[in-house]
Amino acid sequence: MSRALLIQLARLGDLVQSLPVLTSLHSVHPEQALDLLCPSPLVSLGELFPCVDRVYPWKGEKWHELATTKKTNCDQRLVQAKRYLSECAFPTYSLAYNLNNHPRGILAAHLLSDRVVGPGENGPLKPTLPAWAGYLRQIAQDRGKNRVHLTDAFCGLCQVLPPSDIPYLKAPEVQLPLELERIVNGQSSMIVGIVLGAGDADRRIPLSVWQDLIVACAERIPQCYLFIIGGEGEREAALALEHNLPAKYVNRVVNGCGRTSLPQLVGILNRCRWVVGSDTGPLHLGAMCGARVIGWYFSRARVHETGPYGIGHYVWQHESGQPRESRDDHGARTERSSSDHWPIMETVNLMREEQVDSIKAEWDLWTSHRDEWGAFYTRDDKPDEAVLRRKDTWAALSQLTNRDFQMEISR
């Protein structure tokens, strides 16, 4: 049995958005075992992906140590690197799919397989990008009227079409911490996930905005509980948020920051009906766990490229990039009139399945859909011309790849 490897060395959000391409690859090449190489902290999540055979950790800190330890000559470094790689016990791969257009991904692909698909497929030192990688780079640079979602572009990179059905992550059988278990699994009420943090500071939503949203949810959605999602780094912010809430709402909030592993988080997100947040890894994970997602996209986040993948999600896209309000020392904005500048009540209305005006101050509301070319977002449910052009984009980019893929596209 031949064996292929998919390499995704980027962050949580990118790994989550790699699930569809893994699903497609598995369905197109069912005879081929498919492994995943991802950053070591994300391995436990990769192990939940249904179509992946084995998950291998990429330990960046180990490579950094090998490269920077002061006591070794370059010959000793090389010996140690070879030893480390053999300790990793990678099998022989007939093919490596690389999703990362940076040297580490390209080099890892060539180290582990003679044949590479994706960035670096023409050689580890060749700057020429494959068609889909070039397309993604161009989109990142000029932000043109792109409508091919990143998740689907990953499929294009690997020369497969988006999967016919959207893959979801099921709740694994993991025990939650007792105090979370009671709240998450013990009640039939609606749980709303609040994704507090963001990897990049400019994508963080101010605490005052979260506070207003929580109050609005608690007041307007009876029986709802708000589960705060975040890592160790968000613990302090979550405590501050709890501290600032009016006392009567405190028992409606569950602080899960830094208290769950990734499999536990998947379990909790499977119980959430809605997840709200900026363009972050846990938001995408929520979508892949079957929750409906409402994203607040600002700064560099763009709905058409990285909106939550699937059907029935919403994204409030800020038109100028950065919502108003100044920041305090902790990166939180200080003004209290959040509702003037953020679509707080409108978000609550969406969760209440009420009619919402698609324009709010500087925000536009987009809704997700999906067809054979992947996911797309529309305003007022009307696909625009750019959405319709996706087929041409697929055809044009696929002409530059192998014949089987071209036939698949034309069919």
């Binding site: 960046g60 490579w63 950094h64 090998l66 490269a67 920077t68 330890t69 002061k70 006591k71 000559n73 370059c74 010959d75 470094r77 090389l78 010996v79 690197a81 070879k82 790689l85 040297p103 580490r104 080099l107 890892a108 060539h110 180290l111 050689g123 580890p124 030192l125 060749k126 700057p127 020429t128």
Partner: protein, 617 residues
Amino acid sequence: MCFLGNHQETNKVSVLKQNVSLLRRQNQALAAQILQVPGGTLAIQPAKSGMPTALVNSRYIHSAMILFREAERWAEQRIKDCQTGETIVVLGVGLLYHVQALRQKLSQDHVIMVVVPDLSEFADCVSARSLEGWGERVMWVAGSIVDMVARVIQQAKRVRILSYEPAVMVHHDTYEHFTLQLRDRLAQQLSGTLHIMVVGPIYGGSLPVARYVVNALEALGHRVSWVDHSPHEAGYRNLETIRDTRLRLTVQQRLSDTLGVISLAHVAEDPPDLVLALSQAPLSMAVLEQMRRKKVLTAMWFVENFRHLTYWQQMVTGYDFWFVMQQESCLDAFRKAGASHVSYLPLAADPAIHQPMTLTPQERYEFGAEVGFLGAGYRNRRQILPSLVGHGWTFKLWGNEWDNPGALVTVLQRGGARIDTPTSVKIFNATSININLHSYTGEGFDPEGDGVNPRTFELASCGAFQVVDARTLLPALFDESMMAVIKRPDELLSSVQTFLHEPARRLAMAESSRKRVLEAHTYEHRMKTLLGAVGLACPDRLGAILQGERHGESLISRSGACPELIPMLQQFPSTDRVELVDVAKTIRQKGPEAKLNREELLILMMDEYRQEKRDFL
């Protein structure tokens, strides 16, 4: 393991005989000498376990309770740092429990040399404890310090010194001389080159020293990155317009902190093997701690009087190495404050700058004088120098901080303006008798005057004659055939009177002083010494590089475990230092069509991670 359980004379003789026989196989002379010395340095007595322990001056050298466990612990802690290819030189003899433990725990590839500074102590030891089973795998080094150093140099390329402190204390001075001589001998053999980042001050007396250090290191072939903060002087001084003292000090501190972070950014961009700071360099403890976290070695050459400038007390644990211009009391103070490595390193001169020169008539007219002094207006100088005014000779006073000069007003030049280095060299060359009085904020000469100022070396390097006040460390640097040394202020006038009429003697003395500078007191000499000390303390890091172990040819000769690297290394000149970054660069130069093998890919991968700097600042 054989061990003398009681102290009966017969047993003692038998153990001694056995040990001498063992030593004879390795070092006949030492074995013979052992039988000649009376012993008696160590007081041997049984420990609680019955095994012998030793005391000197009523102080135990080994535990009275757990001899072996204590020795094992000592050895275990030290072997963690020992690397393949190093020769271990043990200082401290006592009853050698520590050496026995070290020999048993350390791989047989390591050569262990034990320095024996005193045969009497060694005789006591070999009469009390058997060396059988381990002593034959130890090299015993005895004799004069010069001989012992030569023996170590002959045997070892890379030396790691391990000190057993309780026994070192018995012959502390001998061991210290041994270490200094070993350092200097090893420094003479250095062939490897380092990347050294020199961090200078914003302004002040150590700024020119930073420049000389940069020149010297470059002349020695090292790659030097100079983080020059002097362009920020105008901005820093401009803050003096803030009248509120607290505000002013706060913003000055903030600016200084920012310059420290800028230094850190330079380190992150191009990581050096060593950061060498000069006194007043704006590196805060936070910056130094971050450098330590990032495994960057740091050294400070503190070219100030430690009694006058005391900020070193707050910084002492921040630097890995301290070099100071004063001895004993200064070294003690730094050690007590927590310095892990502190060494004496006197100032020097840069002969490319401080040199004899032919002056134009116009320069001779402007700068020339029979007697001259260049320096700032410290209290002792204001008190002593007026005695030279109003005699039959020309006297010129140069330098700044001479407000209200009193009797000196008639001799003060350029209105007390600051004199730059090129002008100072002309003044030294144009003056028959250069007065060199060390600064002191009291009256007369500093009663604790020990360290020698840079002016002494600079005048000597210019071939200029000087009358200098006595310093306790001066005789080790220059003798009285090279300069006139006065012990009291009232000797100044008579000394000038004497030498003014002896031009030939002045010329001869000045020439000898210049010769001495060129032989032993240039900044290149100092940098060799400094790097020798750092290399000796870090044999596996800087020591190995300085010994040339990262030269292309050396790497090729040791590439047995990785033969794939040899063709890559062969592309470099054999005596060039080759690092991962260099190999990676040649791989990338192969061009876009190149097919890379596994080893080349691994090197590129490590090079990608080498460039990672995200958590540096």
